[in-house]
């Protein structure tokens, strides 16, 4: 019951943020310099023709009317038409988002599998060689331009060694698995399509590692500092003092409390990965939202750019909501407040 109330409260608090986001994206769309009508009709347009199109497009209405129309459109799933693909933006977003989801989730899994153990090792061997090594590794991860790491991985593992494919989601000529979630690895697993599954995973490796570089650095650092705080706390000293074996102290007492705060950072890390996916997808020709956005930018396709922006912001908020809810269930203190 408490959990339901908590989630309901968080959902309620999301409403003003969502309205704010829509105002901001609307404002950005309105800063496009120049007159959209002129952009469409070209330099030879007559004043009458321009005026008629402006009236037709609703550009002469007051801003709040235009905003109202924009909001009404969003609620009906109408995000305008992509000038590049000539399809409704909403359809394009549905088509491209599973690939981005698959990539970011894969990157987050790598992040957790590497970041948390590295952070724990680093903290438990504070100032020893393993710690120094991990800290430099994490620092490099945070400072690393992901798109550059992607290029290096392409150079080495694709062009030089040829062990991993360098672009796309599947080998050439392979047809995607039956559509269930749109994420090829998941769909292939569900339909038992092993060749496709293996190909999909192979294609995920390089972009996934690239995308996770920054977040691995973040999570490693956070885990390390949080574990250090816990390891220096009185109850851990007490555990040592009463003669508990080191491993039991570390894994029994410290781990749970040390890793918990890291969860709060997951939302932020996911946001980073979502943002980074734009660049990483461009490097690996990964047909997701990021590449769609980059293409849209190059073709001055604003409805598409704004559609991606809005969708990613909403995804980011939802992820944060999920993370908060998880934290609510894990941290007993929150349940009583």
């Amino acid at each position: 019951m408490d959990a339901l109330r908590f989630i309901a409260k968080r959902l309620l608090l999301m409403i003003p943020i969502l309205i704010g986001i829509s105002i901001l994206t609307f404002a950005i769309s309105n800063t496009i310099p120049g007159d959209p009508a002129r952009l469409i009709l070209g330099p030879k347009a007559t004043p009458e023709g321009l005026e008629a199109l402006r009236e037709d497009m609703g550009l002469n209405d007051p801003l709040y009317v235009q905003y109202g129309r924009y909001m009404a459109g969003i609620f009906q799933g109408d995000l305008g038409e992509s000038t590049y693909s000539q399809r409704p933006v909403a359809d394009d977003l549905i088509r491209y988002s599973p690939a981005t989801f698959e990539l970011t989730i894969f990157a987050m899994v790598i992040t957790l599998l590497i970041g948390i153990p590295f952070g724990i090792i680093s903290a438990s061997r504070k100032d020893k060689i393993a710690d120094q090594f991990t800290r430099i590794f994490a620092l490099l991860g945070v400072a690393m331009p992901a798109f550059w790491l992607g290029l290096l991985l392409l150079l080495f593992f694709y062009l030089r060694l040829g062990v991993f494919p360098g672009s796309g989601r599947l080998d050439n000529g392979m047809s995607p698995p039956d559509y269930i979630t749109g994420m090829y690895t998941v769909d292939a697993l569900l339909t038992g399509n092993w060749p496709v599954f293996i190909s999909a995973v192979m294609h995920l490796v390089l972009p996934g590692i690239t995308l996770s570089a920054v977040t691995v650095g973040m999570i490693t650092r956070m885990t390390r500092s949080s574990m250090l705080t816990v390891l220096q706390s009185d109850y851990i000293r007490t555990a040592y003092a009463k003669g508990a074996p080191e491993n039991r102290v570390l894994y029994g007492h410290a781990l749970r409390n040390g890793v918990m705060p890291v969860i709060t950072l997951l939302g932020m890390a996911f946001g980073h990965a979502l943002g980074g996916s734009v660049l990483v997808e461009a490097v690996f020709s990964w047909p997701g939202l990021g590449q769609y956005a980059v293409n849209a930018i190059n073709y001055l396709d604003f409805p598409a750019v704004m559609g991606v922006t809005l969708l990613i912001a909403i995804m980011f908020i939802l992820v944060n909501l999920i993370v908060d809810t998880m934290y609510f269930f894990i941290d007993p203190r929150l349940k009583h407040n």
Binding site: A143, L155, V305
Partner: protein, 272 residues
């Protein structure tokens, strides 16, 4: 304080990197061995050598010289973005924290909205709307960066707002403007300043990313992100074109990071 900075080898490393970048930017014409933009088709796609330290690109431009000149672009971006967003964020944060109530709520809800976009995505859409140019990328980054300073400054203002020296100022009849600028901001700006020095690196990184997808610097500008974007076409033939500009970005971000972390340790009163 100087001794504390020097006592940490990583901070010294950061300082050295930052100094190298500044020196390269100032003395770029003296350091560069070639023109950063001159095309020389006779020596295109040359591997690194004594003549071209970092090799040449597909039209024979010297990559080393381009990277050296690129420090000017990157430093300018970093500094300008921070110089725009820092005062805006600081003043809004100080106002929010000091005045409180409804003003605080409005300002903080606005920052929440900006922070509910992944930074690079918001900057991307603003830059895309303004049109591809380096100035627009700077504007876009400044527009996404200020809320961080607002948050940091607000929380440090909240921690000193009820200090007796602020009350003393009010008892003397100082107006809110004076209290804000003479008493509150000078005493709550330190954490945000440290963040700003860290951010110099991250701003440069983000700008390079936006240039990489075609939004920022346009060819033939020797901007590192644009150079990397360009290198994709010749990845098979010229590994050096994809390697060195990236190292430059990495080192720059690393340098400002190490310096900022070092400053943080020095300024943190708990460690004094």
């Amino acid at each position: 304080m100087v001794r504390r900075v020097v006592s940490s080898p990583l901070t010294v490393l950061g300082l050295v990197i930052v100094l190298i970048i500044i020196v390269s930017a100032i003395f770029a014409p003296a350091i560069a061995t070639h023109s950063p933009t001159e095309v020389d088709l006779l020596s295109k796609l040359e591997a690194p050598s004594g003549e071209h330290y970092f090799g040449t690109d597909e039209v024979g431009r010297d990559i080393f010289s381009r990277i050296v000149y690129g420090t000017r672009i990157s430093l300018r971006i970093g500094l300008l973005v921070v110089l725009i967003s820092f005062p805006i964020g600081t003043i809004l944060g100080a106002i929010a924290g000091y005045i409180g109530g409804r003003v605080d709520q409005i300002i903080m809800r606005i920052t929440d909205i900006f922070l509910s976009f992944p930074g690079i995505i918001l900057a991307m859409s603003i830059a895309a709307a303004l049109g591809p140019s380096i100035e627009n990328v700077m504007l876009a980054l400044a527009a996404t960066w200020w809320p961080w300073y607002t948050r940091i400054v607000r929380s440090s203002v909240l921690s000193i707002k009820h200090s007796e020296f602020i009350e003393a100022s009010r008892a003397l009849g100082a107006n809110p403007f004076r209290i804000l600028f003479k008493e509150i901001i000078p005493n709550s700006i330190a954490p945000a300043t440290i963040q700003a020095s860290l951010d110099l690196g991250f701003v440069i990184l983000s700008a390079a990313g936006l240039s990489f997808i075609g939004l920022g610097a346009q060819p033939p500008s020797p901007e590192w992100g644009a150079m990397l974007s360009n290198s994709r076409e010749i990845l098979r033939e010229a590994w050096w074109a994809a390697t060195f500009p990236g190292i430059a970005i990495l080192l720059t971000v690393l340098g400002f990071n190490l310096l900022g972390d070092g400053l943080n340790d020095v300024m943190d009163p708990k460690q004094r």
